[in-house]
Symmetry: D2
Subunit: 353 residues, 4 copies
Amino acid sequence: MSNTLGNLFKLTTFGESHGKALGGIIDGCPAGIEIDFELVQNELNRRKPGQSKIVTQRKESDTVQFLSGIFEGITTGASIGFVVENENQKSNDYDHLKDTYRPSHADFVYEKKYGHRDYRGGGRTSARETVNWVVAGAIAKQIIPTVKINAFVSSVGNISLTTNYKDLDFNLIESNPVRCPDIITANKMEELIASVKKEGDTIGGTITCVVQNVPVGLGEPIFDKLHAELGKAMLSINAVKGFEYGSGFESAKMKGSEHNDLFNEDGTTKTNFSGGIQGGISNGMDIYFKVAFKPVATLLQKQNVLTNKGEIIEQQGKGRHDPCVVPRAVPIVEALTAIVLVDNFLKNKVNSL
Amino acid sequence: MSNTLGNLFKLTTFGESHGKALGGIIDGCPAGIEIDFELVQNELNRRKPGQSKIVTQRKESDTVQFLSGIFEGITTGASIGFVVENENQKSNDYDHLKDTYRPSHADFVYEKKYGHRDYRGGGRTSARETVNWVVAGAIAKQIIPTVKINAFVSSVGNISLTTNYKDLDFNLIESNPVRCPDIITANKMEELIASVKKEGDTIGGTITCVVQNVPVGLGEPIFDKLHAELGKAMLSINAVKGFEYGSGFESAKMKGSEHNDLFNEDGTTKTNFSGGIQGGISNGMDIYFKVAFKPVATLLQKQNVLTNKGEIIEQQGKGRHDPCVVPRAVPIVEALTAIVLVDNFLKNKVNSL
Amino acid sequence: MSNTLGNLFKLTTFGESHGKALGGIIDGCPAGIEIDFELVQNELNRRKPGQSKIVTQRKESDTVQFLSGIFEGITTGASIGFVVENENQKSNDYDHLKDTYRPSHADFVYEKKYGHRDYRGGGRTSARETVNWVVAGAIAKQIIPTVKINAFVSSVGNISLTTNYKDLDFNLIESNPVRCPDIITANKMEELIASVKKEGDTIGGTITCVVQNVPVGLGEPIFDKLHAELGKAMLSINAVKGFEYGSGFESAKMKGSEHNDLFNEDGTTKTNFSGGIQGGISNGMDIYFKVAFKPVATLLQKQNVLTNKGEIIEQQGKGRHDPCVVPRAVPIVEALTAIVLVDNFLKNKVNSL
Amino acid sequence: MSNTLGNLFKLTTFGESHGKALGGIIDGCPAGIEIDFELVQNELNRRKPGQSKIVTQRKESDTVQFLSGIFEGITTGASIGFVVENENQKSNDYDHLKDTYRPSHADFVYEKKYGHRDYRGGGRTSARETVNWVVAGAIAKQIIPTVKINAFVSSVGNISLTTNYKDLDFNLIESNPVRCPDIITANKMEELIASVKKEGDTIGGTITCVVQNVPVGLGEPIFDKLHAELGKAMLSINAVKGFEYGSGFESAKMKGSEHNDLFNEDGTTKTNFSGGIQGGISNGMDIYFKVAFKPVATLLQKQNVLTNKGEIIEQQGKGRHDPCVVPRAVPIVEALTAIVLVDNFLKNKVNSL
């Protein structure tokens, strides 16, 4: 029930942070898609730890092996199985977690819910799981090559990118370790993260995602609205606390006469408060949404933790962790977006016979 | 694919604004639940139009008929079919919509997606659909009577309720037509809505929902996290543009050392930035979240609309519409919350044999 | 989980034999299908009791009301809600069932599973549920008008129709109350049923279904094979004990050299032991399968029943029941076949983008 | 859609006969189950080719690697990923299949449906897929250790085991290569298979499965009846053409007065024509069913095949194949039965709160 994303293009995943491997099965990939494996690896590299000074220095090669469903480089319509082996695990780093529950982590609730848990590095709760999502997202992107998906960091702590996305050059996103396409803002963000890291602390941030070239008609009415599926996917990412699309929370302050997007004669609209989606269905305008990430809960400071005997003890945070998760989450946001879109492209094919 | 909410407690719905009836099937309701039909009707009455001056003056009796699954007042475990007949339809009010697409409505995208649509009153896109949700929510609430679900209006336009929810008296929610438990703020909101209405305009707002007495362990890991399911449900409501839980978007500005919820010895936490959910699983603390609603798109003003011939013409908004949707959306938010919770109570039963 | 058939063309149903109404929701019906309502009613009439001397003399008008999803006679892509009201219920006929469990009925297991059941006329377990299936099947048939689905009674007790289906005139199926297209065999079957009825006894039989004009490629590999979905649907019909397709159980006695269907140059095959399906996917040849029905368990004789106090008492069967269920089950077999086929037509649309 | 079996205990699989590996994900395995890995390997060994002279002489080590979801030998409730690597592939044996479609194989329909296929050894259509099912079945068996599942070969060609299953000693099933618990019949079957093999031919057969110690109440009403789920699972096995449970096709010849299973005072029944299931729900009596397998389509003889240019040419069957599939299918039938049962045990847990 809980390890599958999508209905027609379905990703089912497995794996723990310090188990043998993570992996997944992509079921419902159309036949006849030529797969560019370098592109897949490239996306994995974007997510990989150790890319810059402001992210965790763990080293993981994050090499994916495809085991089925692709023959002579082309998808066959069969389920695509893949694995990403775990390497460079320092499980001993996590022995102190066996009997303790870290604040604002899922240790406690997993213990209560399941009774038996792989505590090493968070086990199944680890964001290492997102490596699977990036693999599937990289396949999804290749199914809909004309759709342009660009995510970027739009704020870190109090430093926000205020430029309208239309005035940004998405080519600059990868030009800096923060993945913010405005270099001046990016520098400020980078400094903030560095200073927070120095304190052994962490900081939150937001990611904005823009999707261009989406045809009219994607998305299902009522309970599977396109933005509801995007929202659910984003809220699946570790540390995400909020999702808004189009005018978002700001719309709650507006009047209808300000907010309505008047039509042009060709069906496009003069403004786009709607964020490219009406009644849950894409209207051909750009889709854009924003995702809020809380600060990572693992601090490299002393903190009070709860033991399984009901005691509060002081514990020093250990391991290799990100001081700010948003730069590495950019390819994850894009990957889930691609998966949701492909799923909805397929759903849209069955509206008529 | 698109008309079902829930996995184990499943609501599937049908119905158009001006068709014969709306209705649904609740599949997966446990056997042996004694149903209080008055309570169901009471929830419907809360959602009903025409309750006060600040909501639409349409008259709908909104009487639900249960057709199956309940025998001698007690659920049998069989699927529960129900219908709510449409009355007092003024379909002629909508003749002007046959060939035109209103701005920020779903007319245009439905036409493009399906080719053939019931244009009367928005047809399937109408928020009248939510009558079905309130019926199912009222059943769901009775399955988990110990859980307390309270939603209320937390802002209308620029008027916000700033009091922490712990200092509010939820008994006051129904004391005023806005459904804001702070009377002074409620009055201001009511005035704002009245003045907006006078202009033939509309205004957005937010609803906050607080869920108390939730046991530890509800919610599934990875893709069906409890907050992701709540978020998706909320984003299914007409006019919703954003969802956040716990510290929400504010968390993106915070440091980990500020944000972490330190444990007490009994497993409760000293703060609750987490909003009662860790890693997608309830931790026993209060769950709270906020939902942003855009201003209703139907204005009782002249507005430019698009015709199906690609012309822009001026059209006067007609019909009976809400100037602000949030007061009537309060029971809808509660209903969906109840449905998601029951679904997760059931899911949680299969974690062990 | 249990009241839905189909994945993309989905029927969800509700209703008890002696409740207010039965009904269902068809979700996933493509938009733009013109519905012939007479054809729907015609199928219902074929299933209806009281059509001849050899079926039950209950009178039910079995009139379906469509409540949504069809506008101006054409489907809109929205979910189609429908109800069939119960009339002419003689619930008092069933008072004797309140505290007793009839042999080879589901009374006992429902009581044990759910604790509380609608015992009147079998409640949810009654074959009256199949009225819903026939409604949805009649819609499904209209979605794929070129596909020809013909079911007929191929045996009653020891009287079997041995003619190959290719030598039968399907136009004769409706010419006699048994629905056997060979008149001489039909007469024998009719006599057998009449004599069994006289004894207050019942008799089993089989139905054969032939599907023609199915294109190559319907059906999914591995777990949703076309014949597996047909088999599951048939095994959902009350009283069904077996399903075989193509060469069926006979194939277990054959050698590969006898059984293999050699190709013609155009991809058709010289023989059709495969029954039109290879590896779960239609190959363009006729699909044919056979379904075995046990004798109806309700006898109009004295029989020992179990009481809820654990006593065995003698009870006289009452009510109006079919001495042989297969003639009325013919349209049900066809309806489920049509639903499964439409579902697979839709599934087949998403194999490529 | 097509690579998943089960709803709450879900197996999703991947893999081609001559790809790198097969494997799967078990989602929904309850936490806290201690896994006996030897038992899993033991089941794999039962399915493995090369066990005796009457099965294919391919050598595959069929070693499963579990990658997640089991920590310190105990399930954690997380998804269980596993892979079985392919070894000893002789892909060159299959070069002749690149451009040809073998009779009664799925080559032709896969080509037409997907356009691009892995032709080596049948690719995804190969029964090698069942190795995944046996892995999941071996886990499932350990979740419900008190339930006894015994499958055995009940016929090969015209040689049938006629003894009632109650008079058989299930301990003898593994005593002979045919897996028939009656030694004299087993010998005859073995001789028949040997002689068929000599001719380069193949032969069909049936498997009977008996499930004991099932509690009352498993199975869902209407569309997910227990026998319908068992039937669908069995019809998913390569080469299966028919399924019957309890009295099966024989019931179609019987009268109700003969067929009804009269109750004992304790709720058991004097006879068991019902096959342990009433109205789709287990009644506590033994469940038994029979599955018909056609003869394997691959002959080691010359046969006419179709080329992708529409020509009929003669081809000599090559490779290592089973002359009769039923002995090796015994553990597969048991595995799928176990999976369906566990799924229904879990479903049954949510009938009440």
